[in-house]
Point group: C2
Chain length 435, copies 2
Amino acid sequence: MICPRWTVAVEPDITPQRDLALAIDNGRIVALLPRAEAERRFAPDALHERPDHVLLPGLVNAHCHAGMTLFRGYADDMPLDRWLTERIWPAESKWVGPEHVRDGTRLAIAEMLRGGTTCFSDMYYFPDVVAETAIEAGIRAVVGMIAIEFPTPWAADPDEYISKGIAVHDRHRHSPLITTTFAPHAPYTVSDQTLSRIRQLADELEVPIHTHVHETAAEIAEALEKTGQRPLARLERLGLLTPALTAVHATQLLDAEIEALATAGATVVHCPRSNLKLASGACPVARLLDAGVNVALGTDGAASNNRLDLWSELSTAALFGKWVAGDATAVPAPAAIRMATINGARAVGLEHEIGSLIEGKAADLVCVEMTDFALQPVLDPLSHLVYSASRDHVSDVWVAGVHLVSQRELLRMDAEAISARAADWGRRLIEGAGT
Amino acid sequence: MICPRWTVAVEPDITPQRDLALAIDNGRIVALLPRAEAERRFAPDALHERPDHVLLPGLVNAHCHAGMTLFRGYADDMPLDRWLTERIWPAESKWVGPEHVRDGTRLAIAEMLRGGTTCFSDMYYFPDVVAETAIEAGIRAVVGMIAIEFPTPWAADPDEYISKGIAVHDRHRHSPLITTTFAPHAPYTVSDQTLSRIRQLADELEVPIHTHVHETAAEIAEALEKTGQRPLARLERLGLLTPALTAVHATQLLDAEIEALATAGATVVHCPRSNLKLASGACPVARLLDAGVNVALGTDGAASNNRLDLWSELSTAALFGKWVAGDATAVPAPAAIRMATINGARAVGLEHEIGSLIEGKAADLVCVEMTDFALQPVLDPLSHLVYSASRDHVSDVWVAGVHLVSQRELLRMDAEAISARAADWGRRLIEGAGT
């Protein structure tokens, strides 16, 4: 049982409530009720008093490339096309393999977990390793069955990407913390044929499709030249514009495309820091939310961000969302919190499992401590979560009821070993690059 | 003597250098030289080994309203005009007095110091209290002699604002940590007559003039209607467009105005988080820098930000600056660090005293610890300062050679008492507002 000062349940109501207690049994929320009543009803094995804390659902990082964390700071201050072709793709072809992905993903999970992210949706090579690493760490992961038209150390061609992806899906069909998505990299790197096949398989396996869409204006221009269609129209033509679609970035959207996403019931994942850093463009968050589109948040990879920190993203989403809308009332604090929780859960198809503190859902939880003087006075805890707090105010994290972070320390991961391995890869990368 | 792993001296060169030592005597930098040489030349009284740290100049917050920190989170998700007239001005007229300003400023200083800000330029009521509070805390402060046309608890009319301001200036003429600026609130709240008088006095006393300029499009439209001139043109007509001018916000600038600011040698203070949150507009940072304008960074007040955190500002300045320029190479990491250090020093007229690690300058210093796994691998320390680190990685702070923060703890301020006072004011504010 957890007894915080404030509870932000997100659903049915996001208003902070005082002096509730959350009862957990067998990894699930069994009740959220007034503390006095909880004390009468339950005799808990463990009681976590959090008298100066906000309890809220764990954050959902709806788009990242965890393994890329080993490339943090390797390619800054460059546009997306040069970033990919001059730095990232060459480095990946040289370095990426199961050990690199394992160490990068461990580093990413450590950073995400300590910062209050309890579930991440990944798109990277060696998804088998990503799944194993997540299970070992105890974090919830949505593992992307990646597909891209060119060969990488993970697979040689679309057939192999898809068959190896499905093998990962099958292996983790009953892993409680692992689900999957199909993750075709982007319309500009995946053929019609591969996309059609993925569409068919996604229907059969009932998994979402997670892909980069409309990240930059250049992508649209190139697509128009090559295919005569904007990428989203092409996805629609191929039957991919459905509730199962998660369109990442979406910085270039016509009014009709916003309408089409809304009508389809698709999700947009907004990665504000990555879009700003790569000067990609602006996702029209307020207009999407007004149209009824589910908008979630992602960090993107640490090579383009350079932190896997959903508190920075939700704060930036609120600030930048107002600016893009030209309206200081747009993307208010509650909307930002929803984007980072329940909307993320919807994005990955886990809205019945996580994203709010509803009885029966998994106990994926975060406590944020409000005692720091940099958070005083606490006039409005919801405002503070979005505009004043940061990930270093996260005191506790639970995933499926398992306590993984306490007093800002990882309970189940060896932070020193993770750092040492990352530093070692960093040295090899710098030496290998001859700089 | 401080022996860090990397030194970012900012001047003459911003490239991180390894294994230097910084020697300090009597509050000033006496040498920055290779460690081996330093060990031969100096026999230090105290040796600070910082083997995993970056040493850089203390950050300069070139625009804030420290006393307003007690209104943190009091007025979110509203545009500037409603924010001022419905929330801030009524709350200020009810609550602001010397005790409120003292407690608010103490809270602000605690937050800034622990986060690596060693100098702040303030614009608020009771500047006498701001100066005393800064001296007591040991932080460097540039105290604004505020002027506004309407009465507040600090002064009744422009004459009184100016005379009380000058009394503060005179009192601190020899305080080593205190300098002053004239701080007329904004063109839309200060008359021609008052601005002209301030111009004259600023020349006589040789102090800069620090004012809000072109914060929103509405401000320009209103000025055109009332005066027939854009505010910057009016300041120019009144003789205020000189190297002494610090124009805060500057989100609405014509090409000719950028040129005029450059020709005049004026400073622009960019407050990115505040501009985003109030949807005010976008300061054209890259274009200003290209034109040779000195661009510094400010947090603005905690009522519109809601944190006094220059790391967030410099990171946001780099990210948002790229986006506004439509160019991922704009406002690169070194530019962001310069804006937060030497450009800030220039903004407040202290470029010969602080802002870089040059022999003879005051020892206002920050160490950032790079051991956290969320900063691994460290491929490029300058990139990490801007894109990956945050204020919680600041380990040490010195102002004028005095060690004020060690291991992230304030050495000279009572954090608990400051929090308790702030919480108390917060309770009174909520009760007084009847919410």
